[in-house]
Amino acid sequence: MKLQVKDFPIPGSDLVLSLEPGKVILLKDETYVKAEALLEALCGINDSFEQLIVIDETPISDFPAGGSDVFAYVFDEGIMISNLTLVENLYLPFQLRFGNDKRESFEQELENWMQVFELKTDLSLRPAFVKAAQKKLLCYIRALLLKPRVLLFDNPLYLLSSNERRRLLSILEDLKRDFAMLICSNDDEFASGFCSSIITIPA
């Protein structure tokens, strides 16, 4: 998949990325503003991003659901809908993407991912009753359940302890084979070894 962002990060130059499974691209942005804005624009939540985004020669605005059927975004703070339970939070986007009749397959896949992430969280709880790190890991699961072509991560290790960071890095290492990843982070732990290319965005 070829991603082209016109006049980004500076006017007159285009950002062109080839996003294929196995490719992990890190956007290093000291100001955080531009890289985060790009990730948000890719999944359709940044209306003020003025640059034209083109995926395989098709403008992202021509996609039926914006970029949400291509990308899955994991927010840095592990955001969840506060008035839904954890399982409802995980099921809502899955149900909208794959329909109401896939509950069994959802439960099966969820169980598998819970084992991969070694999570034993009570999913009937509301997000407010769960630790931030657990919520963040559940957000990874929510994104993976959607089977996107590209995973977008904003500060992937934020809120995680050193143990959780190690575990997540090893999981992401395995996931690299199946997904392309576009990451916004200034964390050197990521830059060293994990990413296939690093793009520094000028302030």
Binding site: C43, M80, S82
Partner: protein, 254 residues
Amino acid sequence: MKVKLEKKSQRGFFFFMVTTILAAFGIARNRHINSTVIFRQILFTGFEALPIISFIALGIGGLIILQGYTLLSNFGQGVWIHVILVTVVVKELSSIITALVVVARSGTAISTELGNMVVNREIDLLRSFGVSPISYLVLSRLIGVIIAMMALTLYFNIVAVLGGWFFSNIFNRIEFRAFINDFLGVLKFSDVFMSLIKPVVFGFLIAIIASFQGMSVVKASTEVPQRTIKAVVQSLFLIIVLDILITWAFWSIA
């Protein structure tokens, strides 16, 4: 500057309302309208408001019958109490009082909830899934509030009329069948129709204004109570204005 902002806000509200109405047109095909959200809204706005609505309806119905009967009996016109009951309770008070209770409970709750969702970036999260916040959050709540308003108004009428009979019976024995027959004799189809139209209009207003104000929060949680106050004031003002307009329209037709 203030005038400009106010105009911008009015345009924004108009655009928001039109977007919601357009989303409502494709309701059958809209997968983002969530039955759980609708059900929870009906439960909160309708079912959980029953005790306060019962209390007010019972009090209002009883007081109107007591005062009215005492006053009219002095002129030997006690039979007209049913006309007063239909005019005051069924046509006017039931929908207005129910709307005030719904504004106080649900209007504030919707505005606060949506405002906090904006601040916590939950709206952004929904949009990142490709979910339309207008369909999922606003339209689902709108449907829930309208259904609950209609049910509550109907319930208010029943409790007020039966409560009125019960209270008046304590002081002045009236046979139930005669009371209901007289009441139904006075009640016209247009009265029932008006009593059903008003809750639909008021429910729409309360939900759309509360949702707009909640979604208008930009970044800070300090905006949430300010927006909630605006939602309450605007809802109350527009409910009274539209109540007058609907009553005037029915009166003109009649």
